[in-house]
């Protein structure tokens, strides 16, 4: 029964695994750039989750055709289109903060920065 569930809903397992990888990057790594990479992986796993929730089997892209057709759900696409832009913005601001920190302290290691800032 467990195997059946894994085969039917394998996509969710993939997203959860990706999300956990990103979570580990955020809490387990000490390098600030690696933390940002983990944050990005976390965000993109959520995007994949939303886009897969939009899927309707046999549906086409949500652009109206002349003849009637089955369309996938357009709303998650819109939400993710805006969420990707927010992800890019947060990544840009985060990277520029990291660049400033590197200019000030000469290192990207979290513990060293905390020590130096005392």
């Amino acid at each position: 029964m467990v195997l059946e569930m894994i085969f039917a809903k394998y996509n969710y397992i993939i997203y959860i695994t990706l999300m956990t990888i990103g979570f580990y990057g955020m809490i387990g790594k000490r390098n600030l750039i690696k933390k940002l990479i983990g944050m990005s992986i976390f965000q993109y796993s959520i995007f994949l989750f939303y886009v897969s929730a939009a899927d309707v089997s046999g549906g086409t892209a949500p652009i109206l055709l002349k003849e009637p057709a089955v369309y996938v759900n357009p709303l998650p696409h819109v939400l993710i289109l805006t969420a990707i832009v927010v992800a890019v913005s947060t990544l840009a601001v985060g990277l520029s903060l990291v660049i400033r920190i590197y200019r000030e302290y000469g290192t990207l290691d979290e513990d060293k920065i905390l020590e130096l800032s005392k």
């Binding site: 999300m19 897969s52 929730a53 109206l64 357009p74 660049i99």
Partner: protein
């Protein structure tokens, strides 16, 4: 020590999320709650209300136009904050 703690909490996180998977709809299910709520109305009415065949564009700029305005302001603000953080006066 910290690394083992991180791995342990990641494993707990993974297990809690996987525990919820059986309740989620299967991929491509047309009866899923996400596909039943407002999406059919958008697909039926968006052409006569917005005049564009691309439903994603119609929702993005017509139904959720205020949201997208906020979105554009977010990237504008991000660009300005990157500028404030990194730009040095050129002499």
């Amino acid at each position: 020590m910290r690394r083992y703690l991180a791995i342990l909490s990641c494993f707990i996180f993974w297990a809690i999320l996987v525990y919820g998977v059986p309740d989620l709809p299967a991929i491509g299910d047309p009866e899923a709650p996400a596909n039943k709520h407002v999406a059919p109305r958008y697909i039926e009415r968006s052409y006569e209300e917005s005049g564009v065949p691309n439903i994603v564009t119609a929702i993005l700029t017509n139904y959720r136009g205020y949201d997208t305005l906020g979105e554009t302001i977010v990237i504008f603000t991000a660009g300005i904050s990157v500028m404030l953080l990194l730009r040095r006066r050129e002499k």
